[in-house]
Symmetry: C2
DNA sequence: TGTTTGGGTGACGAGACTGTGACGGCAGGA
DNA sequence: TCCTGCCGTCACAGTCTCGTCACCCAAACA
């Protein structure tokens, strides 16, 4: 299911862990030398790294830092294995920003559970850095909107509003949905707040404000095509 | 190289276009019936669709709308083929939000050029919807930052600032770089503006403010690990 | 046609946000 | 040790932003 890189110089541990991981359907890559971790991680692009803090030559924290410093390995979650005796390692493991840690000796079952948890947690959700609908270009990276290449100056509220609408163009967004997405309100569907911001947004968009449609008693929507409202 | 769906009821055109596309290393799928476009697009997930506006039964604009209305095909760029005689189609092709259009008859070379341009333009840049560094969780979707699950209320300026810093943790961001990224300033490296916002940000982060480090005469950085400054 | 309901619009005041200048302090170099 | 340059900190005033209210208008409905 996932590819996991196990870093430990103790062959027994590597074998034990590998066995359990493979039994759960994971692919295992292993390395015993700390200096080989980064190259191996780059080469195999694992979904998770199990990293022993005690390694000959270079310690795990250093290895972890190098992984974090490299763009290619930065996003890979790491579970630290620390020795029971060294309480400091425990702290180091956490402080170094590892996604989780485990104290040796550990039960394979616990490691499996933690790996499962971290993998679940690290299911990265990707989004488009830029979204283009007709003349509209939403730049999520720079948190800005431009129309036909011209930057439109929006306040944070307006930006959140149009971002929500543009996330699903031609789909009706109810008042409560928008209030929830932009303001975090539970319901309160009565005030004029939403209407006012819709108006401000439309004004700033000028002619293109027509892309924001109203469906009476239903909500608002961003229309990718202006004209009559889509019959959807 | 790319998979391209060609939609036209004229077999000559389909063959001509296919020939040229294949010559450039593209994979070609074709459909003659407008109603079959959406299912085919869903099935084959092409990187681009060349769509004739004149189709028997259902016209290209309608087909385009359906493609746009479906989440699975929404992001696929479309090049419209319009007939010379119908000037209105030309406008319809543009207004419908097609990524480009071409008037029949066209030279295969021009179509190839436009396809190349659209493909290049549509190389979607993906980003992580959430970025996690230690206790920090940057939610780009909701434009918010939380630390250990607790939401930190930031102004738009502060948010842009920490977003920029967190985009490349443990990397020094010069004053001019930050001023440019957050404020769009060209240089103006002298005012206290940046310092003030850095301070406000640190204050709001509380203890975690220590993650924002200062490198005298060099700039600021987001440290994934607190303690001494990284020697990088 | 009259009534009801829901959205559009404009104005306004409270409060938030921002950029700046003054000043102090620390670090690095002479 | 002193000096200089750079950053931290603070206070402040101007501006922006936001939510609300009152009122108007149009659509839906009886």
């Amino acid at each position: 299911m996932s590819r996991i890189l196990v870093v430990d110089d103790e062959k027994d541990i590597v074998e034990l862990v590998s066995l359990h991981l493979q039994r759960e359907g994971h692919e295992v890559v292993s390395v015993g030398n700390g200096l080989a971790v980064l190259p191996m991680a780059v080469k195999t692009a694992p979904d998770l790294i199990v990293l022993d803090i005690m390694l000959p030559g270079i310690d795990g924290v250093q290895v972890h830092r190098r992984l974090r410093a490299d763009t290619r390995t930065r996003h890979i979650p790491v579970i630290m294995l620390t020795a029971r005796a060294q309480t400091n390692d425990r702290i180091a493991g956490l402080e170094s920003g590892a996604d989780d840690y485990l104290t040796k000796p550990f039960s394979p079952r616990e490691l499996m559970l933690r790996i499962g948890a971290v993998l679940r947690r690290s299911q990265k959700v990707v989004m488009l850095a830029e979204q283009r609908i007709g003349e509209f270009l939403l730049d999520r990276k720079n948190m800005s909107l431009s129309i036909s290449g011209k930057l439109v100056e929006l306040t944070i509220t307006e930006l959140k509003l149009i971002t929500t609408l543009m996330a699903n163009p031609d789909v009706i967004h109810s008042r409560s949905e928008l209030l929830s997405a932009v303001w975090g309100y539970a319901d309160d569907t009565h005030s004029r707040t939403l209407d006012t911001h819709i108006k401000r947004l439309r004004d700033k968009l000028g002619d293109h404000g027509r892309h924001i449609g109203t469906l009476r008693r239903q909500g608002y929507l961003f229309q990718s095509v202006v004209g009559e409202l889509t019959d959807a």
